[in-house]
């Protein structure tokens, strides 16, 4: 059973599981109908249009062996209820789903999508988070707070059903050439607001690698909590330059109020979660993932390159233009100098 199939990640995970011969039956659970773009993917998936509250019956009745919980929203969607609906889905939805899963006798496996936002953001944080690092303070971003709540429910579930293999995957922000998240929209803008005097270290994970990890955690057995991110680090300024965009550094306070204003007007989705990320940066240690799954996601730089390939329009400065400018300047200097030496030779002869 897969939750959140009306969304990009959920639909793809469900489709991949349906195509795997080791999986008998895939049931998609979502309160909304999938959009037409994703409906094609879900041809082999049985859809149940219900929210998590109704799921309590469904899990036990269907005798589900594995539950993949992906119905976790990272940013409030003003079209479907904003922050209140987001919290309803993330926190209350997870609570009800796990309560239902606890009562399901045939359940063997639980996979929950979490995020590296679980580590919070503080000036005293270590540079690299391992799975054991505890957040130092309750984060101010709404998504990060939801993630902490969700992980708290999973901890409770593990205590009560120790025989179920519970996998928590803490994903770095997703990128790919086609996926649409608040971060891809941010990097697709021609002019990118950043925080003045801060250059956050960022890590990304490619959507295809995230799908592979999710798939393996369902068909194989990997209990525990894992960081999922591409190796290596991009500084925010470096990412902006690689994307060929122009950054506009704003003081943190100004950026927060501009972002809040933009949210209220309904344009842009930079929340406190993103601002925390851009102030503090977030880098995780993925050695446990690589060891347990035997699979290393492509590097952060490679994932970002793939994203750039899908978003060529709106580039102000790209590597080709810079290389051309470099050659032009160098040739110009050489010509001027060659002329100067010729003049000198004329003068001396």
């Amino acid at each position: 059973m897969v939750t959140g199939v009306s969304r990009f990640l959920g639909a793809r995970v469900a489709a991949r599981l349906a195509a795997d011969p080791r999986v008998e039956r895939v049931i998609g659970l979502d309160p909304l109908d999938p959009p037409p773009a994703l409906a094609g993917l879900l041809a082999d998936v049985e859809l149940i249009r219900a929210d998590a509250r109704a799921a309590s019956g469904a899990i036990a009745e269907l005798g589900a062996e594995a539950v993949v919980h992906l119905a976790v929203t990272s940013a409030p969607d003003p079209n479907s209820g904003g922050r209140a609906a987001m919290k309803e889905q993330n926190v209350i939805g997870t609570m009800q789903l796990l309560a239902a899963a606890q009562g399901a006798d045939r359940l063997r496996k639980l996979v929950v999508r979490s995020s590296t936002a679980a580590y919070g953001a503080s000036f005293r944080d270590p540079a690299v988070f391992t799975e054991e690092t505890e957040p130092r303070a309750v984060p101010r971003g709404s998504f990060a707070r939801d993630i902490l709540d969700i992980e708290g429910y999973v901890r409770g579930f593990r205590r009560r059903r120790p025989e179920v293999a519970a996998t928590v995957l803490r994903f770095a922000p997703f990128l790919s050439s086609t996926a649409e998240t608040s971060l891809t929209r941010y990097f697709a803008q021609p002019v990118i607001p950043t925080v003045l005097g801060r250059d956050a270290r960022l890590q990304f994970v490619h959507v295809d690698d995230a799908l592979e990890i999710l798939h393996r955690s369902v068909v194989e057995d990997h209990p525990g909590t894992f960081n999922v991110a591409g190796a290596g680090v991009l500084a925010l300024s470096q990412a902006v330059r690689r994307a060929g965009r122009i950054s506009v550094p704003l003081p943190e306070g100004t950026l927060s109020s501009v972002a809040a204003l933009a949210r209220n007007v309904g344009i842009g989705q930079i929340g406190l979660d993103q601002i925390d990320l851009f102030v503090h940066g977030r880098v995780v240690d993925t050695s446990r993932l690589v060891k347990e799954f035997g699979f290393s996601p492509r590097t952060t730089a490679a994932a970002f390159d793939d994203f750039i390939h899908g978003h060529r329009t709106g580039q102000a400065l790209n590597a080709d233009r810079l290389a051309a400018a470099e050659r032009a300047i160098l040739d110009g200097i050489r010509r001027v100098r060659a002329a100067a030496t010729q003049d000198q030779e004329h003068a001396s002869s």
């Binding site: 944080d125 540079a127 690299v128 925080v195 270290r201 500084a235 470096q238 990412a239 790209n318």
Partner: protein, 342 residues
């Protein structure tokens, strides 16, 4: 390609070319950095080529040094603008540090403080090491000079990765510069990660007690915190190299500390020096004291790994490091009778 490598690659006349290329070094204080190249490229460049190479046939060399430098400078700018460089997981940008920060600090290091370094052979050539120093000077310039000393004097040009107070990482701009130049927050997970990756880690256990002390307490080591640096070294089996830095105490002598004002501004201390705050921004210019840096023989810790949580061992080892630094400070002070002498 460095200048020497370039000359070595030239066919035939490589041998007698070498001294000519080195001529500009004593001429204007050795600053052949890329930063100087761009303004010089349009006008005075040909003139300087003549000055650097008095032999007439050097001028007609098809590829000359200035051309190479301009090309290297432009390539550097292009790489920076396109984001084509590497940053490690702590945010350390080796290219930017070597091309911009180090040459700027080196001017202070060599021309202003006339730094002399002893015992650099005590710093391991490869693998991890924990450099523990005395802290002084109101602003943590001693930490920066130590990084320049290791990059400049050490046979394998090692980068020192500093551990900074969280105040540094709380401030915008400063936190960005600190991360780019290889520093990170002083906490055990980061220190252990850096040391187990084989990096040289620099730590100043006195912290703000050291840099914020009065001028009358100069060269008196303050308390060494809780010895967290020792347990990090023990856990990773990294040798500890004590280092004594003489000279930083005199750059901004603290005559008084205005505690209420410091509390108001959220700073650990508010210094009053002979020039600050009386002369305004001019008071930020450090006094040109003579600096001596001595690296002491390393203390191996590989055999003590299981004692990392034993407070007695940790405390004794921290004390041993402290004694070594204090004793070395005294011998260095005898070598330097006049703080502002040459």
């Amino acid at each position: 390609m460095t200048q020497d490598e370039y000359h070595a690659a030239l066919p035939g006349h490589a041998d007698f070319e070498l001294p000519a290329a080195r001529a500009p070094k004593p001429l204007n204080g050795n600053r052949p950095g890329r930063r100087r190249v761009l303004p010089a490229a349009n006008g005075p460049a040909p003139a300087q080529v003549e000055a650097a190479a008095p032999e007439p046939d050097r001028q007609r060399d098809p590829v000359d040094v200035w051309d190479q430098r301009v090309a290297a400078g432009l390539a550097f700018l292009r790489r920076r603008l396109a984001g084509a460089y590497e940053v490690d997981e702590f945010g350390f940008d080796a290219e930017l540090t070597d091309a911009v920060f180090q040459p700027m600090l080196k001017v202070l290091y060599r021309d202003w403080f006339r730094t002399e370094v002893f015992g650099v052979e005590n710093v391991p050539d490869t693998g991890g090491g924990l450099i523990v120093g005395n802290h002084s000077g109101t602003v943590a310039l001693d930490a920066l000079m130590l990084t320049v000393a290791l990059r400049d004097q050490h046979p394998s040009d090692r980068h020192l990765r500093l551990l900074g107070a969280d105040l540094v990482f709380r401030l915008p701009v400063l936190s960005e510069l600190a991360r780019k130049s290889g520093a990170t927050v002083a906490c055990n997970p980061d220190a252990e990660r850096l040391m187990s990756e084989g990096e040289l880690v620099g730590v100043f256990p006195e912290g703000f007690k050291g840099i914020g002390k009065r001028f009358s307490d100069r060269y008196k080591l303050q308390r060494f915190g809780r010895g967290g640096f020792v347990s990090a070294a023990l856990r990773t089996g990294t040798p500890i190299v004590p280092v004594a830095i003489v000279g930083a105490e005199e750059i901004y002598p603290i005559l008084a500390d205005l505690k209420p004002l410091a509390r108001l501004l959220g700073m650990p201390y508010f210094p009053v020096t002979p020039t600050f705050p009386w002369l305004g921004p001019l008071g930020l210019v450090p006094l040109p004291s003579k600096w001596l840096i001595e690296f002491c023989p390393p203390i191996p810790t590989a055999h003590l790994t299981e004692y990392a949580d034993d407070p007695m061992v940790v405390y004794n080892l921290a004390d041993q490091v402290r004694e070594t630094i204090q004793a070395t400070l005294h011998t260095l002070l005898e070598k330097r009778p006049d703080p502002f002498g040459l």
